[in-house]
Symmetry: C2
Subunit: 187 residues, 2 copies
């Protein structure tokens, strides 16, 4: 089954540490779908329980599948075809169980070190060597995933670091880099 | 001197292959500045000759340095401090020459294979082993850099590929992945 990604809008933290529901960002829909399509990701789950936000995703999708975008940019449709709109992670688990008949492995990402951390190379090897297993990377919006999510996942990935101790990347950057590390074609 | 990045809004191509000036995208300002800061990039040049577009960058910067953003998010200021607004690549060359006393090396990026291609590992080693030299990665907006740019650079980087033959990444994804490949901390 390979790799899927999930972008969580609830439950995540805001800058004060409070659990909130974030608004869906148009750039997240597009940038993550394009990265997912490039790196052979099976599904891009947008996790959003609020109906007005779900409507926004449907309007964007409609623009590129039926509206003026459909003729303007054919490749965008190919990327957005990976999007699945769901209410919570349970819905993802059910979908992936149905697809594979087995339990999916959820992997949380974070700008901080979390328990049950697996290295990037080790996860790359697991994805390569367990082709029937569904792996799902979980990304938070806002100031990151709430513990209700990170405490329930199977594995976590360490923070992305450069030569500095500063790592306040956008979720768009984080998703792109992590997919490249796990699925990018090596020289 | 290390590594800088440049985001070109003119001359680039539109989807019909015509040379155009693109509008500056707020998300490009932020996402690229945050990636640049994470990966120890020295300067983030926004190349834009049109005055109304340059004003837009100044308004955004002002919001985060002097306006409401300054107190709301301190780290954003640290990232945006890398931004230099310039009219063309010549201005970048002058700035980097002044800084280093030598000629900068410009490296164009593209979704297609271009002449004078250097591998990611080879460029990573050059940056590491030539610390006094200024390297500047050049990224195009729209449908990519015009030949007026790509034919004048010193080196080029190959396209970013995953396990598919589809690679229509956003410039935000491309910048993030390339900086990680060149400057990311290895496990």
């Amino acid at each position: 089954m390979g790799l899927s990604i999930a972008l969580i809008h609830f439950p995540v933290r805001n800058r004060l540490g409070k659990v909130v529901n974030t608004a869906i960002t148009n750039f997240d829909i597009h940038d993550l779908a394009r990265a997912a399509r490039t790196f052979g990701v099976e599904r891009y789950y947008i996790v959003a329980p609020v109906e007005s936000q779900r409507d926004f995703v449907r309007r964007v999708m409609n623009h590129w599948f039926e509206g003026p975008g459909a003729e303007l940019n054919i490749t965008r449709k190919e990327a957005l075809a990976l999007v699945r709109l769901v209410r919570d992670i349970n819905e993802i688990a059910e979908d992936l169980r149905e697809e594979t008949g087995g339990e999916p492995i959820f992997v949380a990402t974070s700008a901080r070190q979390l328990p049950n951390c697996i290295g990037y190379e080790a996860l790359r090897r697991r994805i390569d060597t367990e082709p029937r297993r569904a792996f799902c990377l979980v990304f938070g919006t806002g100031y990151g995933l709430d513990e209700a999510v990170t405490s329930e996942v199977d594995l976590t990935l360490g923070p992305i670091c450069g030569p500095t101790d500063w790592n306040h990347l956008s979720v768009r950057s984080a998703v792109s880099i992590i997919l490249d590390r796990l699925r990018g074609k090596r020289e």
